[in-house]
Amino acid sequence: MKHLAAIAAIACAFAAEPAHAVGVGVGAFGGVGIPIIQQDTGQGPLIGLRLPVRLLSFVTVEPYYSHTTGRESDRSFGDITVVYDGIDVSSYGANLLLTFGGRLQLYPYAGVGSFHLTRPSFDETRTGYNFGLGLGVSPLSRLSLHLRGELAAAVSGGVSRKWANLTAGLTYHLFQFPVR
């Protein structure tokens, strides 16, 4: 019971912290990109950069760049194993985040970007869409930790290649108004 009370008190303290109206930060993140119903590429590590620009206390626009290195995927039947090189994805674009809370934030977001998909003998640039949910914790005034889960879809014609991206990242807030 004491533990619950302590957790609740900490959560209230974080949530009660007034949010800054505007600010600019820079962040880096890493994680994993997991293909969704793509039987010809494997999951792989994902890294990237973000530049969150808070326009209002609850609205942030966030240009980003990310790169996923897809691992090989094997398909076997009978005595045959077919090996597919993983698809690498480089993407850049911008997300719109709706942030709730103060030092502890839960935020849905969506974005659009350009996705460059490559592997030997395959090279395509597609329009892509992201949408997901993030959890931000700001233990220090200029630093925040972000955990996110998102769906990223690169579209071509009537079909898309999709990934579930799970990331963890740190953002350093360069400046924010009003100053804390």
Partner: protein, 189 residues
């Protein structure tokens, strides 16, 4: 607070729009499928100069399941092991016609069909280069644009086409073990 709710609704609407634009989550997919050649196949310039395979992709369960949603082929490869049993070094080719055909000579195949794949070099019988194992990676660059186009159109159509495999040296006897046409189906709505 109203602005907040309106933005949240806008974000939800954008997500739904993106979902619609990208095809539904569950029905847009890249599905692996394979069409196996008879095993083994031996083409012999003296007695059986080419192997004819009447292909019907409808025999593949994955193809049948995705056919109504098939938008194209994301990847195509020919895999298998080719062994030159007798004869000099040469090459192997695979030709295609849309729908069923039944040519009786290599000359007829070359005039009435389109080269789908090859030529792939094979060494003289009895040498180390007489056995060629084709993987997806080394098979990939051997497809012709015209042949691939026929294959994609047939895959999107009734799924039926005819393949012809033969050697190009004057005298050849080539066995194909575990030959297969492997596909990645692009399915969507």
């Amino acid at each position: 607070m109203r602005i907040h709710r309106a933005l949240l609704a806008g974000l939800a609407a954008a997500a739904v729009t993106a979902l619609v634009a990208t095809g539904c989550f569950l029905t847009s997919a890249q599905i692996f499928a394979h069409f196996d050649l008879p095993n083994p196949v031996t083409v012999d310039s003296q007695t059986h100069p080419f192997e004819r395979v009447a292909a019907d992709l409808n025999q593949i369960q994955q193809y049948r399941a995705q056919k109504s949603k098939l938008m194209g082929l994301s990847d195509i490869a020919v895999v298998g092991t080719f062994t030159n049993l007798s004869g000099p070094a040469g090459t192997i080719e695979v030709w295609i016609t849309p729908g069923p055909t039944n040519f009786s000579t290599v000359a007829q195949v070359k005039s009435g069909a389109v080269r789908l794949w090859g030529p792939e070099s094979i060494g003289a019988a009895g040498t180390g280069a007489a056995v060629v194992t084709l993987t997806r990676q080394n098979s990939d660059n051997l497809f012709t644009a015209a042949g691939k186009s026929i294959l994609i159109n047939q895959a999107k159509g009734n799924g039926m086409f005819t393949l012809y495999a033969f050697g190009t040296a004057g005298v050849y006897k080539i066995r194909v073990d575990h030959g297969s046409l492997v596909l990645v189906l692009d399915a969507g709505e």
